[in-house]
């Protein structure tokens, strides 16, 4: 789990990036969500030893990064930071699967290594796609899109409230941690009992806050339903965006472009 301060910073940064004004950002969120889903499903559906066929799919993230004006280094960093679990499981592949699948000159590459790299590539692409979705659409717009696409309103409202108060609570928690660390001199770290007490305090304050928020909602006429204030509109060319990219993904899933390219090149080498 990342540290508290960095989380605060991260949420704020992603939020700022998502408020940029490019044609990608302006698109209807539902289109972006759907296109991302098609992308992910296609990438994930490849067999475990595919690498070359995966590469052309990079065109979608590259497209969005370029036209959405996204900070590449920042996104790459976030993706690599999250890699550990996939790496942890994936690393068993080279150890267990020693069958050599590929001879490149004197070097034999085992199926295990191939599937490991495939896993890494898949990870970066799918997880990157999710990050890019938020970076180009913004959390609120994604939630609105989800609601329009049939997700129960209670859950969407929950997503919105959670996000809103994330900043407040992360702030409170970090102040508590800081206050505690300023008073702990042995540096032995937080024990379970102290944690229980800290978390307990935070919890009680949180529940009080919830009550006050509820009061504020009642004071402004809340009756159990949350009403949206901005309608969403999809334009014609955005539908073409979705259909076009989806068709491309399916095409790339079915035909291995790089291999074809490689064959061509090999044909020219005497």
């Amino acid at each position: 789990m990342p540290s508290i301060e960095s989380t605060f910073f991260d949420l704020g940064t992603m939020d700022a990036i998502s408020r940029q004004d490019t044609f990608v950002h302006r698109m209807d969120p539902r289109i972006k969500v759907l296109t991302t889903l098609v992308f992910i499903v296609c990438v994930v559906s490849f067999g475990k030893h595919e690498i070359s066929a995966l590469v052309p799919f990079l065109v979608y993230p590259v497209f969005l990064v370029v036209f959405g004006d996204l900070p590449v280094a920042y996104l790459l960093r976030k993706v690599t930071v999250a890699a550990p679990f996939a790496v942890l499981i994936g690393i068993f592949n080279p150890l267990l699967d020693q069958q050599v699948l590929l001879q490149v000159g004197p070097v034999g590459i085992s199926g295990g290594w191939i599937s490991f790299f495939s896993i890494l590539l898949r990870f970066m692409m799918t997880v990157g796609a999710a990050l890019i979705l938020i970076a180009t659409t913004g959390y609120h717009a994604v939630c609105m899109a989800l609601e329009k696409m049939g997700v129960p309103q209670i859950f969407v409202v929950q997503l919105l409230f959670l996000y809103r108060y994330l900043f407040v609570l992360v702030d409170e928690a970090s102040r508590m941690v800081r206050a505690r660390s300023l008073r702990s001199f042995q540096g032995k770290g937080l024990g379970i009992r102290v944690f229980g007490s800290m978390a307990g305090h935070l919890l009680l304050r949180t529940m009080d806050r919830a009550q006050r928020i509820h009061l504020a909602m009642l004071c402004r006429g809340f009756d159990g339903n949350i009403r949206p204030s901005h309608p969403l509109r999809v334009r014609g060319w955005e539908v073409m965006f979705l259909l076009g990219w989806s068709a491309l993904f399916v095409f790339m899933r079915s035909y291995n472009g790089p291999r074809f390219l490689g064959n061509l090149i090999q044909g020219f080498i005497p």
Binding site: L37, F92, L101, F123, A199, M217, N263
Partner: protein, 344 residues
């Protein structure tokens, strides 16, 4: 503990998403029926609380390593299963979207593994009967530890199944199982202790909070019998499915086994870690043909192997590398050209 998109197949991911979507729909209906609209802001801030609390690390006594709170159980205790499930699902969604925690396809699996089991199984089966009615410190600790352990064991089991059935990772089922379960037993005990610590604190400071949730029938608690019946049915169906699969598709099982171990020929394990794993594998395997020394049926294994011959693979590498370089170059060039127009 979190599944990643890279390790699941669309079939597994899709199935788990269907289950999760169903649960979200069910829970939403239950919470709405509950009619207590105080719950709406409460769920939101408690979700934020769990999120924040997860970032505070504590040291586990005796080991010196650090751990952090999972939170599903605390939510279930304070909100009841349905609301807790929604809250946990929302926290995992934010983590998947912002912190690259696994990915969007795996989100369905994660919500199921980390949400369903603590909220709809562990809590009603253990915590509520033990510490839900008459409350005392001992009951809280006992209930919390048992529930946390059960919830995490089931969740870990879920991860193992999902990984294995997807076929992307080469980890054999039994090895993975025997690695995950003990680790999560320990994690479960710690989670139980930490949950108990927080709940006891709240109970001592403001007992009315716990009494309030104990008295009201929080939305979505199915009766003990129903939960037990549900689990038994699920176990029977799963067991039945696996044995049907094994009996009607003997080659199929071999095929999936050989896929997950990748062996076509008898090959002595090499030294070091590989041999350790192989030994571990042999010691822990309980399915008959399931070992590194693969099937007598080389044909089956050979057929099942994806047709990869070095000729096509070399082209793959060449073409792939070329495509990659081209894409990256185009991207960089386009970005450079845009820079002067970018507003900063």
């Amino acid at each position: 503990m979190h599944m990643a998109d890279a390790l699941i197949s669309p079939a597994v991911g899709g199935t788990l998403w269907a289950a999760t979507a169903g649960l979200i729909g069910y829970s939403s209906r239950k919470v709405k029926q509950d009619m207590d609209d105080r719950r709406i802001p409460l769920m939101g801030v408690l979700g934020a609380f769990i999120f924040a609390a997860q970032m505070i690390n504590f040291t586990i006594p005796g080991t010196g390593s650090s751990g952090h709170l999972g939170g599903g159980l605390i939510l279930a205790i304070l909100l009841g299963p349905a609301a807790a499930f929604l809250t946990l699902a929302s926290v995992l969604t934010v983590q998947a979207l912002f912190f690259a925690d696994g990915g969007l396809l795996a989100l369905g699996c994660n919500i199921f593994n980390l949400g369903f089991f603590p909220c709809f199984a562990a809590y009603p089966l253990f915590y509520k009967p033990i510490a839900g009615g008459r409350i005392s410190q001992r009951r809280i600790v006992l209930g919390a530890i048992l529930s946390a352990v059960l919830g995490l064991q089931l969740g870990a089991l879920g991860v193992v199944f999902e990984t294995f059935l997807s076929g992307i990772s080469d980890l054999p089922f039994s090895t993975f199982l025997f690695l995950m379960q003990p680790i999560h037993l320990a994690v479960g005990i710690v989670e139980g202790l930490v949950t108990a610590a927080v709940v006891v604190f709240v109970w001592k400071a403001r007992p009315e909070i716990l009494e309030m949730t104990a008295a009201s029938k929080p939305a979505g608690i199915p009766s003990f019998k129903k939960v037990l019946a549900g689990l038994l049915i699920a176990a029977a169906v799963t067991g039945g499915f696996i044995s049907w699969f094994a009996s009607t598709h003997p080659d199929g099982l071999e095929w999936s086994i050989s896929r997950s171990t990748g062996k076509q020929e008898i090959d002595p394990p090499k030294k070091g870690l590989h041999r350790l794993l192989a030994t571990l594998q042999e010691k822990t395997s309980f399915l008959p043909d399931y070992s590194f020394k693969i099937s007598k049926n080389e044909e089956t294994a050979g057929d099942a192997w994806p047709a990869v011959d070095s000729g096509t693979s070399l082209s793959g590498i060449l073409g792939g590398a070329l495509t990659l370089i081209t894409l990256v170059l185009i991207g960089v060039l386009l970005k450079r050209r845009k820079k002067p127009h970018a507003q900063h």
